[in-house]
């Protein structure tokens, strides 16, 4: 079974779908691997390492020849889709809920496409859960961005020139990324509070040594562990409570998200304006519109002395480790769908069924 | 048969009682059962009484009773000791880990 790994073409995307370490495991397990030249360069993986691991390095032009599986990070461009043979197995982030066009294109082409974001959050699928692995990186990176932008030191220091007070950080949305952000901010010495609408989160926040900020809003938790959207009333209440509390904080990191929906608006402009100049907001949800009204996705803006970081695709900024994690997720899914290099799709299986976004009409 | 003043015996009794308390006051839970078994063996000392009775018995009744007492007391002593010993088998000191092992 020939698996190909293209170099990512999306702007700013430094990750690569499979890293040499995974390649060598797959190569030993019945797969034939072709990697586009320079595919891992931006993440710090050299072509030599790929060759050593057992991949064949090819030019773009020859890449898709005889490809049975394509492993990617971002969705393929229209051109790329056109280059795929019908029935090709495609694995990657495909934005099934937010990019209907792209999906339609794949369907037309007869691609057998599996979206990494659709991996069900069940125990058995944890090793394929790319949303979690990339959110881990994003949560960590968000804190670094904040620490680098804020004019203050995170930890408390008592020195001969007086005492530096610790930074007070607030993490809103304590899912995977939020929890990692809490942990990282605490590591750096900040005093961390966190908030989430799911009631189970309080204990998790405290299990990291942070304190839970009660904004008086509690939402529902779906079977998959996700939050549901708040009612407009609740949303207003949350905004008001936040506006009240937000001036206490030097750093705010927001990660609130509802799958398939635009990010909830949590921080109104008025709240930003109440913050001290020099404070920082990192909006990890920028990609889906942002949790803060001031956020401009992909940009860093200043509003009344407050820096609002809307940088998207944070995992790509830590491409080495992000790729490493993603690569293991992809390999786990591949081995599930085609163990030992033989396609064996079981549509009864929850993972296969839920992750598949398009399949050839008369396909397996 | 007693040839000591009662009060001396009581003094001895008192000292023994206090000593019995003090001597085991720091026992870890793990040793509760073996210690109970060991104490059980020690009260087998009643065998001394049985020997005295049986050894000086002159009528049949005393002989029979003494014989029974002797059997029971011996069983207490012997059984009690072996049961305790088996229980304590698991407290053999484990060999000191060798240095190489610790390092790996």
């Amino acid at each position: 079974m020939r698996v190909v790994v293209p170099k990512e073409t999306a702007p700013g995307e430094r990750r690569v779908a499979l890293v040499p370490e995974t390649i060598s495991k797959l190569a030993a397990g019945g797969y034939e691997l072709r990697v586009e030249r320079d595919a891992g360069a931006a993440a710090g993986f050299l072509d030599e390492s790929y060759a050593e691991a057992g991949a064949e390095l090819v030019e773009r032009s020859a890449l898709y020849e005889g490809a049975q599986v394509v492993a990617r990070v971002a969705p393929p461009s229209a051109d790329e889709v056109a280059a795929l043979a019908s029935g090709t197995l495609l694995i990657g982030f495909l934005h099934p809920l937010t990019d209907p066009e792209g999906i339609a294109r794949l369907r037309e082409r007869g691609v057998l496409a599996f979206a990494m974001e659709s991996i069900p959050r069940i125990t058995r699928a944890q090793s394929m859960d790319a949303l979690s692995s990339q959110a881990t990186v994003a949560g960590y990176k968000a804190v670094l961005l904040a620490a680098n932008s804020v004019q203050k030191l995170f930890p408390m220091l008592m020195t001969a020139a007086g005492t530096i007070a610790p930074v007070r950080a607030l993490v809103i949305g304590a899912g995977v990324a939020g929890l990692q952000a809490i942990a990282t901010a605490r590591r750096l010495g900040a005093v961390v509070s966190a908030f989430d609408v799911r009631p189970a989160v309080r204990e998790q926040v405290e299990s990291l040594g942070a304190s839970f900020l009660d904004l008086g809003v509690t939402g529902e938790e779906t079977a998959g562990g996700y939050a549901t959207e708040l009612t407009p009333d609740q949303q207003a209440q949350q905004q008001a409570a936040l506006e009240e509390r937000i001036p206490d904080f030097d750093v705010v990191i927001t990660t609130a998200a509802i799958p398939g929906r635009p990010a909830p608006r949590l921080i109104p402009v008025s709240a930003v304006e109440r913050m001290r100049p020099g404070s920082v907001i990192v909006d990890v949800a920028a990609e889906t519109g942002g949790n803060c009204e001031v956020t401009v996705p992909g940009e860093v803006v200043e509003h009344g002395g407050v820096v609002v970081i809307g940088t998207t695709n944070l995992p790509s900024l830590m491409a080495f480790h992000a790729s490493q994690l993603y690569s293991r997720n992809v390999a786990a899914l591949l081995q599930h769908l085609a163990p030992g290099g033989e396609l064996a799709l079981d549509w009864e299986d929850e993972i296969t069924r839920e992750t598949c976004v398009t399949r050839p009409e008369g396909g397996s | 048969m007693s040839d000591l003043p009662l009060v001396v015996e009581l003094t001895i009794l008192f000292l023994a009682a206090f000593l019995g308390f003090e001597v085991i006051s720091k026992v870890p839970t793990m040793l509760h059962t073996p210690l109970m078994s060991g104490a059980n063996f020690i009260h087998g000392i009643v065998i001394v009484g049985a020997i005295l009775v049986l050894g000086t018995a002159d009528d049949t009744f005393t002989k029979v009773v003494g014989f029974a007492a002797m059997v029971l007391a011996t069983a207490n002593v012997v059984g009690g000791w072996f049961v305790t010993d088996r229980m304590l088998g698991m407290f053999k000191r484990r060999p000191e880990p060798r240095d190489e092992e610790k390092r790996t």
Binding site: - | A17, V27, H32, G49, V53, M70, T74, G79, K102
Partner: protein, 461 residues
């Protein structure tokens, strides 16, 4: 043949010294075994001395009785399974009580004109010895499942027991007061036997150890009373040592079960209650709760310990204490490793964050795949607030929602100790059959508390 009472007394003093040392040693894990040997030596001295006393005769009877007793003792103690040890303690205790009662009976018959001291001692010895004998036999039967292990209760039990005991005491007082007819003492013995039976019947199997310990103390007192009868210091002292030590031990055992002695003894009156052993699975396997002291001994004498932390450690914020426990064990020469399951906790790397905070060196942390082959060579696994990630259902039970998840193979270790607060499930909301495994014991309580108790208990060893 010794006839000098001083020599006899000195030899008996050796016995007493041996017994005191034996008890002392028996209460320390390091010397316990030696303690039993010292006690044995003391006993040999006492027996040899007694046999050598001038005037001892009936040698044939003594030898025959000794041989019978020895055979019974050796065979009983040697052939029984390790798990049946408690009932062996019970029965050997019972025969000791019986012997004391019989000696008293013989003396009653024998002594021509007993003084007040003698009569009191004889009555006490007969009474206590008989209660101990009958009670021990019932305890033995229950544990050996000759009769049903569950508490046997009936209406009016209370009153009946009191009546029987009262009767025994009344006749005893009559005997002391001067009723010299033999049958008075028989009545005392008969009623005491009945009381012994009645007293133990309502007590459940799980509480038996406490009761046996109490009966053991009683036998000690009976032996001591016999000593008064015979004017034998060695009996007085040895019996009393056991009486006192046994009483304290009874209190300690009840405390270790978080019960009072009264509750153990009389708990069943009025109301049949569940065994203290804890929850019971449908198929009869039970969950076994343990104490910090027991776990401490297990850990301290282990060669290799693996710590498997989970979300519960995070909730309890026990990471610093866990590290301290590990350090303590390492100081004692135990090899300690941490087994980190990839999804332990509630976020990727949750355990890493916490253990790094507690300064656990990275080199002690092992991924699941690395550590799983090591469990079979591990003496004790300490599961600290982890649940799902140790659930064998993930391997065995295709219908389980976690089927297919790789888990830490903690059940392959020689023994497993689980620290959690209750039998509640973890994230996945499912029961964990690991807890029913006979190798597993549960240390219930907040993980931080439990770990602190373990540290204290290990230091006290």
């Amino acid at each position: 043949m010794i006839s000098d009472p001083s020599v006899i007394g000195l030899l008996y003093l050796v016995t007493i010294a041996c017994f005191v040392v034996a008890l002392r040693f028996l209460s320390s894990p390091r010397h316990a075994r030696r303690g039993n040997w010292v006690g044995g030596a003391g006993m040999l001295v006492a027996i040899a001395t007694t046999l050598a006393i001038d005037g001892i005769g009936n040698w044939a009877l003594i030898v025959v009785a000794g041989v019978i007793g020895t055979v019974v003792g050796v065979v009983g103690a040697r052939t029984v399974k390790m798990t049946a040890m408690p009932q062996m303690v019970a029965i050997f205790n019972g025969v000791g009580g019986g012997a004391a009662a019989l000696v008293a009976l013989a003396e009653w018959h024998h002594v021509v004109e007993p003084g007040a001291e003698e009569t009191v001692s004889i009555v006490l010895s007969a009474l206590i010895g008989s209660v101990s004998f009958a009670g021990s036999v019932v305890a033995f039967s229950k544990l050996q499942e000759l009769i049903h292990g569950r508490p046997i209760v009936f209406p009016g039990q209370n009153v009946l027991n009191l009546l029987v005991l009262g009767g025994a005491s009344a006749f005893g007082i009559a005997a002391i007061a001067g009723a010299e007819d033999e049958w008075v003492l028989y009545l005392v013995i008969g009623l005491a036997l009945a009381f012994g039976v009645l007293f133990v019947l309502p007590i459940g199997g799980a509480d038996m150890p406490v009761v046996i310990s109490l009966l053991n103390a009683l036998t000690g007192l009976a032996a001591s009373a016999t000593g008064f009868v015979l004017g034998s210091t060695v009996l007085i002292v040895s019996g009393m040592l056991v009486g006192a030590a046994g009483t304290l031990l009874t209190l300690l055992m009840a405390k270790a079960m978080n019960r009072s002695v009264a509750n153990v003894l009389f708990g069943a009156f009025g109301q049949v209650q569940a065994g203290a052993g804890g929850a019971r699975a449908d198929d009869g396997r039970t969950v076994r709760a343990t104490t910090p002291e027991d776990v401490a001994v297990q850990l301290a004498y282990a060669r290799k310990v693996i710590i498997a932390p989970g979300y519960g450690m995070a909730v309890a914020q026990a990471q610093h204490d866990v590290r301290q426990l590990a350090d303590l064990l390492e100081e004692r020469g135990v090899e300690v490793k941490y087994a980190i399951h990839p999804v332990a906790g509630r976020m990727p790397g949750h355990m890493n964050v916490l253990l790094a905070e507690a300064n656990v060196p990275y080199t002690q942390l092992f991924e699941m795949d690395e550590i799983n082959p090591e469990f079979p060579q591990t003496d004790v696994v300490l599961v600290i607030g982890a649940n799902d990630v140790t659930n064998p259902a993930a391997r065995n039970d295709p219908s389980s929602p976690i089927y297919g998840m790789p888990i830490l193979d903690v059940d392959k270790a020689a023994s497993v100790v689980v620290l959690k607060r209750s039998m509640n499930p973890g994230f996945a909301g499912i029961d964990n059959e690991l807890y029913l495994d006979p190798k597993t014991t549960m240390l219930f309580g907040d993980a931080k508390d439990s770990v602190l108790k373990l540290i204290a208990a290990i230091k006290a060893l």
